[in-house]
C-alpha cells in the first residue's frame, strides 16, 4: 500500500499541466471560470485541440486511438483539466458511443464513426430518456418499424443534453413491442439529426437556462446499417454503456475544484470583522466537506484500481455516485451560503461572453445560487440516488 504519487505519476501530471498551460486558450478558461455559457464553436475548438494531442478519447484502448493510461493517470488528467479551467469534454460521443462501437459496432461503423469522434467532426446526443420514464429506462415507447432498408422511427426523447448542438444521436428504440419482457425488443440506432421528421425543442431549466431538450421523432427514416448490435438486443448494448469504466463518476476533481473556490471565497468574505473562513461554524462546515472529499478521493481510486484497467467497478460505481453527488452538492450549498445576501441577485446576461457589467456584489457571487440549484440534478440524472441504492442493496448486499 502506498498512497503517494510515484515519480512517473508526478511526471505525467507535469506533462498534462504544461500542455494545458500552453494550449488551452485563455479565452475558454476565462469563460469556464466565470461559469459563462459555452457555444458549440467553443466546444468544437477545444475538442479539436485535444484530438490533435491524442487526448480526446483517453478512455479508449490504444489500438483505437486511446491512451492506455492507468486509473491513477486518468484521475490526474481529470484533475488537471478541471484545475486549468478546461471546458468539459462532451461525453456522448467519446465516452459513451465510442466504447459501444468498439465492442458492438460493425467494421464499417467503426471505420466511419470512430475517427469522426476523435476529430470532433460529429457531435452526438444521447437518446435514452423518454417523457414519463425517468429512471425506468426499459419502459421506453419510441417505436422503430422495419420497412425495407430502413427503420421508421416515431416517438419522443427528453432530457437530451445539448441536442441543439448535435448532428447525430444514438437512440434506444422499441423494435419488438410483443417481447415477453420489457428489456427485450429494444434496439440501438444511430440517427442523423438532420433527418426529416426530427424536431428539437428546448427545455428551460429551473434557473432559466437551455442545456437540455425534447426531441420529437416523426416517421424518421433510419438506414438499417445504422443498427448497432443485433436487432432487439439493444438492452445489452445500453447496459454495456452504463457499466463502461467511468473514472470520474465520483466527481472528485470537480469537487476539489469547487472546494478550492470555496476556500478562496471564504478567505475573502468578511463576517463580524474577520474572514468567513475563520468563523467556527463555517470553518466546520468546510472542514467536514474537505474530510469527506479526502476520504472519497481514496475511496474512488481504490475501487477503480481494484476493478482493473478498462473495467467498471460494477455496483460499486453506485457507491461512488451517491457519495460523489452528496459531496458535490454540499460544496455548492456552502458556496451559496458563503456570499450571504449577494446570493440573491440574478443577472442572466452576466453569463454571456464579453459581459462587462458590474455585479451588485462580488463577481464570483453571481453564479453561486444558480450552481446550487443546478447541481440538484446530480443526484437525479443517470439513475437517481434512490435507484443507485436499490442497485447496491441488490448486488452488493444481497437483498
Amino acid at each position: 500500500m502506498d498512497l503517494s504519487y510515484s515519480a512517473e505519476e508526478q511526471a505525467f501530471r507535469d506533462e498534462v499541466h504544461d500542455w494545458l498551460k500552453q494550449r488551452l486558450p485563455k479565452r475558454l478558461s476565462a469563460k469556464v471560470r466565470k461559469a459563462q455559457r459555452l457555444t458549440k464553436a467553443d466546444y468544437d475548438e477545444w475538442h479539436t485541440l485535444l484530438g490533435t494531442r491524442g487526448w480526446m478519447a483517453w478512455h479508449w484502448p490504444v489500438e483505437h486511438g486511446g491512451t492506455g493510461w492507468t486509473p491513477v493517470e486518468k484521475h490526474i488528467f481529470e484533475e488537471e483539466m478541471i484545475a486549468a479551467g478546461a471546458p468539459r469534454i462532451i461525453p456522448f460521443g467519446v465516452n459513451m458511443l465510442g466504447p459501444v462501437l468498439i465492442r458492438y459496432g460493425t467494421e464499417k461503423q467503426k471505420a466511419h464513426y470512430l475517427p469522426r469522434i476523435l476529430s470532433g467532426a460529429d457531435w452526438w446526443a444521447q437518446g435514452y430518456s423518454e417523457p414519463g420514464a425517468g429512471s425506468d429506462l426499459a419502459s421506453l415507447r419510441t417505436r422503430a418499424v422495419r420497412d425495407g432498408e430502413h427503420y421508421i422511427v416515431n416517438g419522443q426523447k427528453t432530457w437530451t443534453t445539448m441536442a441543439h448542438f448535435a448532428n447525430r444521436m444514438f437512440c434506444l428504440v422499441r423494435t419488438d413491442p410483443n417481447a415477453p419482457k420489457r428489456q427485450q425488443g429494444i434496439s440501438f440506432l444511430l440517427i442523423d439529426m438532420d433527418s426529416p421528421g426530427i424536431e428539437v425543442r428546448p427545455i428551460i431549466t429551473l434557473e432559466g437556462e437551455h442545456d437540455v431538450n425534447e426531441v420529437f421523432l416523426t416517421d424518421v427514416h433510419v438506414p438499417v446499417e445504422n443498427l448497432v448490435g443485433a436487432e432487439n438486443d439493444g438492452w445489452t448494448v445500453a447496459k454495456y454503456l452504463l457499466n463502461y469504466e467511468r473514472t470520474g463518476i465520483a466527481g472528485v476533481a470537480a469537487s476539489k475544484q469547487a472546494l478550492a473556490g470555496l476556500k478562496r471565497i471564504a478567505a475573502t468574505e468578511r463576517k463580524d470583522g474577520r474572514a468567513l473562513a475563520e468563523d467556527p461554524y463555517f470553518a466546520a462546515r468546510m472542514a467536514r466537506l474537505e474530510i469527506d472529499l479526502m476520504a472519497m478521493e481514496i475511496f474512488n481510486l481504490r475501487l477503480i484500481a481494484a476493478a482493473g484497467m478498462g473495467k467498471s467497478p460494477g455496483a460499486e460505481s453506485s457507491l461512488l455516485k451517491i457519495k460523489g453527488t452528496q459531496v458535490r452538492q454540499e460544496a455548492t450549498d456552502l458556496l451559496r451560503r458563503a456570499v450571504g445576501p449577494y446570493a440573491a441577485p440574478d443577472l442572466p446576461e452576466a453569463f454571456d461572453e464579453g459581459w462587462n457589467g458590474q455585479a451588485p456584489g462580488p463577481d464570483y457571487a453571481l453564479a453561486l445560487a444558480r450552481g446550487y440549484f443546478n447541481m440538484r440534478k446530480a443526484s437525479i440524472y443517470g439513475g437517481s440516488n434512490e435507484i443507485q441504492r436499490n442497485i447496491v442493496a441488490k448486488h452488493l448486499l444481497g437483498f
Partner: protein, 373 residues
Amino acid sequence: MDFNLSEERRMLTDTAERFIRERYPIEKRHDFAASELGFSRAMWRDFAGLGLIGALMPPEVDGYGGTGEDIMLVFEALGRGLVVEPFLASGILGASPLIDTGDAQTLGQVMAGERLLALAHGEPDGRYALSHVRTRATQGAEGWRITGAKSVVFNGGSADTLIVSARIAGDADAEDGLALFRVDPHQQGVARRGYATIDGGMAAEITMGGAIGEPVGTPGEAYPMIERAIGRGILAVCAEALGAMEVAKDLTLDYLKTRVQFGQPIGANQVLQHRMVDLLIEIEQARSCIMLAASTLDAERTTRERNLSAAKHLVGRVGRLVAEEAIQMHGGVAMTWELALPHYAKRIVMIDHLFGDTDHHLERFIRFSREAG
C-alpha cells in the same frame, strides 16, 4: 394557553388563501415577476382592497391587525402563492419604523396600496450584521444629508419612499449613533439600480451622494427600530417559508401518488414514504417554532429576539431539507422551469439568505439565551 385562531383571524386567513388560490396562478406570478416592475400594481391594489396590507398594521396607525399572529397568517398565505407583490418591503420592513413612530398618514397610503416603501439598510460587506452601517448623515442648514451605498434593497427600485439607515456617530459596527431617514428616491443625489433575484423578487443597489432625508424617530437612537423592523421581517419570511414548504410538501405528496414508474406509483417505495413523514414532522416543528416567535413578537427584547432567532434558524434548517427532498423526490421534472415546484424550492432556500442564515441565527440564539440566563 390557547392554540386556536379567533373567528376574525380565521376569516382573514380564509380570504387571503381563497383569493390567492383563485386569482394568483403560478403562470401569472411568473408574468408579474418578469415584468419591469417585478410585480403587478393591479394585484397590489386588490390585495389592499382585501385588507391584507392593513392586517399587518396595528390599530394605532389605523390598521386592523399588526400582531405577530396577523403577520404569520398573512405571510403563510402569501408563501402558499409565491406572491411577488411587495408585502415584505412595503408592509413590514418599510412600515415598521413608521408604525413605531405613529406615522398613520403615510401608512394609510401604504395600506391603500398607493405608496410603496422600501427599507434601505443592508450595505456592501455588511453581510447579516444588523448594526453595520457606513452610510453617513450630517445635519446642515437645509436639514439632513445622506451619503453612502445600500445593497440588495428589496423592491428598492420601485419604492416611492425609502427608509434609509445612516450613521451620525460611532464606528461602522456600533449600535449607537444610527438614524433612520425618509428619503425621496426621485431626487438628485439618489441613484438606483434594480435587478431581479433568483427567487422571483426584485432588489436594488442604491447610492446616495448628499441626498436629502427627513428623520424618522430620534437620530442616533434608531437601532431598536431597525431591530424591530428586521424582527418583523424575520417572522414574515419564516411564515412565508412555512406556506411555501406546505405547498412543496403537498405537491410532492401528490406527485408520489400519481407518478407511475416500474409499474407502480413511486410513492409505493417505502423510502419515499418515510422521507415524506420526516418532512411532515420537520414542517410541523418549524410551524410550532414560528407560532412561538409570533406569540412573543411584542414581548421584551430578549425573549422576542431569542424566539425569532430560534424560528429563523429552524426554518433555515428545515427549509433546505424540504426544498432538496421535494426536488429529489420529483426527479428530473423538478429541474424544469415549467413546473411550479422548483420555484417554491428556490424561494424556500433563498429565504435563508434574508436577515441572517441558519448559522447566524443559531449564534444569535445562543447569545440571547445567555442573556436570558
